[in-house]
Subunit: 433 residues, 2 copies
């Protein structure tokens, strides 16, 4: 890595000028004195690569920064010491980052889709070139989670991560719980308020959370986890009744990104789950994100904050810029994204989970015994059975101990076949108990 003499300016290239890019550009300008003090050299914004440099940018008005807009991303990265990519999408982001790395620049990216799909290529390229790659903003926005997992827990073993990493779905579930509203009503409200996209499927179907889960799992387990390794289930199947029942039983429903180390390897999944109301994740409201980490020595840790938005994401980007810039001025290098452990990545069927099964059953003696017998036949053990409040028909809530998804699926199928069972109302996984 080339090191400019201490004090001489570092040239920073910014790729992308959307909400985050605009904020990064403004902060580089307005905080230049303080950033120079923290880095040990001035940061000079050399250019902002955009698709159409002639289009006026609202956020840059009156800053003089619009003079830096350029359509020549390739040329820009070749003359930069530090390249910040906040354009999103796979190409041209991927090509520009690789070009930057090749030419010896340190890179910072907020691009979760790219990292989830092709992170290892970028990490390997950066390692080969001896430059830093940082991506704190790609997972959970402003929440410092990458650095703690990479560095603070470097002498520990992460065993499990439970993350609320999608603000839109957390907002939706939170509103459903607080207002007793149906999912589609709240999704429409979220769209109106700008918390959800016109096409909310990436959020509500869990794909956004899955990309972050892949990155988190790769980091935590030093293993290459790709987006397609993540089993995904969104929130669209959830009813107001599910949420209300959870609430009545001191539980909340959260969309969780779960990465865990089993005896045989790593399992990564995204799905809604019941979480006890006293669990720290239950207190994560609105569009906030949180990542709960279970480590062998450190025990339980949680990192909480804003998962999206221009300013919070720009804060995370700038923290990375300072680290990378300090390394160029003072020497040194950030941690390498090693996948040295390279544990087997297993399908979600290998995860042991607990479920809560809600049933409408006939109100007569012997029903519970029949259900219990069927569950036992499938090798699943029951942790608790409760009578839930109902009118006329009887309701049963069966909570199992941990079992394989296969055994649980078979159990639920068999319960459906019992003559005294009217309906299996819902089956929800249970986490954090």
């Amino acid at each position: 890595m080339s090191r400019p003499p201490a004090g001489s300016p570092l040239r920073v290239a910014l790729l992308g000028c959307g909400v985050v890019g605009t904020e990064v550009a403004r902060l580089l300008q307005s905080q230049s004195t303080e950033l120079a003090a923290r880095v040990g050299a001035p940061l000079e914004l050399a250019g902002i690569a955009v698709r159409d440099a002639s289009r006026p940018r609202e956020g840059l008005e009156g800053t003089g920064l619009d003079a830096l807009l350029t359509e020549d991303g390739e040329g820009l990265v070749r003359r930069a010491d530090i390249v910040i990519e906040v354009m999103g999408g796979i190409e041209p982001a991927r090509g520009l980052l690789l070009a930057a790395i090749e030419s010896g620049a340190s890179v910072i990216t907020a691009n979760k889709a790219l990292l989830a799909q092709d992170g290892p290529t970028l990490y390997a390229a950066a390692d080969a070139a001896g430059v830093d790659i940082y991506f704190e903003a790609a997972v959970a926005g402003a929440i410092p989670i990458v650095r703690p997992v990479r560095e603070s827990l470097a002498g520990d073993h992460v065993e499990r991560i439970l993350g609320i990493v999608n603000g839109t779905t957390n907002y939706v579930l939170d509103r459903m719980a607080s207002e007793g509203l149906d999912l589609d009503v709240v999704v429409k409200e979220a769209q109106r308020l700008g918390y959800a996209e016109a096409d909310p499927s990436a959020d509500v179907d869990g794909h956004d959370a899955a990309a972050k889960a892949a990155i988190l799992a790769s980091l935590a387990f030093h293993t290459r986890v790709r987006l397609e390794d993540v089993a995904v289930e969104g929130i669209m199947g959830l009813t107001a009744q599910d949420i209300a029942w959870a609430k009545a039983n001191d539980q909340v429903v959260k969309l969780l990104a779960i990465a865990e180390r089993t005896e045989d390897g790593v399992v990564v999944r995204v799905h809604p789950a019941l979480v006890p109301a006293a669990h720290p994740l239950a207190g994560v409201h609105g569009a906030f994100n949180a990542v709960f980490v279970e480590a062998r020595s450190a025990g339980e840790l949680m990192f909480y904050g804003r998962g999206a938005g221009g300013e919070p994401t720009a804060s995370a980007v700038l923290g990375d810029v300072v680290s990378a810039a300090r390394h160029r001025v003072l020497g040194g290098k950030g941690p390498v994204e090693s996948s040295y452990a390279q544990l087997p990545v297993l399908p979600a069927s290998h995860a042991l989970t607990r479920v809560q099964i809600r049933l409408d059953v006939q109100d007569r003696p012997g029903v519970l015994a029949k259900v219990a017998a069927v569950v036992a036949e499938h090798g699943v053990s029951i942790e608790a059975v409760r009578q839930a409040p109902g009118d006329g028909v009887a309701h049963l809530v069966v909570t199992t101990h941990a079992a394989s998804q296969e055994a649980l699926d078979a159990t639920v199928e068999a319960i459906r076949g019992i003559d005294v069972v009217d309906t299996v109302v819902s089956v929800l996984r249970v986490e954090g108990f």
Copy 2:
């Protein structure tokens, strides 16, 4: 800083062999292969300095590590690349760390008392010698808070920190709330369970929290904050009634370490405060710790985890060991603990706070008007007045807007003098609303 060739072992000196030291020694031994992979060179435990090397150590039985015990701390640090100090207290810890730094070793310390009293001397010495000093374990045990504040928020501005940084008092307040018990009963219970010391004063009087507040404030505001700059009030004045009333009003009482940046400088204080039940800090139960950070761009962040204990603290120490060791192998240096901002450190009287004042008053018309008039006379504005449930006598709860401590003290004094006021039952500060 001397750099051994990559691959040649780094000599690690451990100072202290209590609960944390024993765990660090055991992890250095049991995790040696993985640590070597993460660092790029093996870590070789060169010795463990203790006062009495002949005393058998339970935790080291059967490990062979007891052969490394030595009473010659001075000699040990002089031949080490990395020195880990977990002995606590001011001397000989301070002298040994300075000797280590002088001889070119990187140092890691978990010693909050020493850092709160004399951190700047150590930081300056490390900076002059070009070696790393890390201290993640000194604040909030296993919770990665130092690294995020130093590095992740390096491009942002911290405006306020609210921390639950003492597990003993949090356990006590939590038990009071959940069981309705009196403070002295719970403190005795905590002593029996080993959560509180035989002499619990450092915890319950807030001094332990104050040391951590000083370190956090120094970090967050790049300003030298000493222990004696922190205004401290413990939890001994709290009654079961205070806690019960808070609970009935969707609030919890927490002992908070608060560091904030005002227009004129930095104010740091430790005192009990009412926190809304929906605030993330309210969900921090038992002996857990959490640090809530308000930053200009990142917004609200929270870091949660175990604040004490051998294993969690050892995890934080080892994370620092890996960082320091990587720097020695690969080159580079950790962030310097700079106090470049050096803002004025102001007495707590400069903090604007809100208070909730509970009064027993005579049950007749005009009482509220009289109280309101007295509050207004002192330039304090009222946010809310509520009638609290009572029998016979009337209860008033007055919540103020933010005002200076001086104005609030004068207000409370004047309220005491009103003829229709029987008693000022309690005055509690309010935070996080």
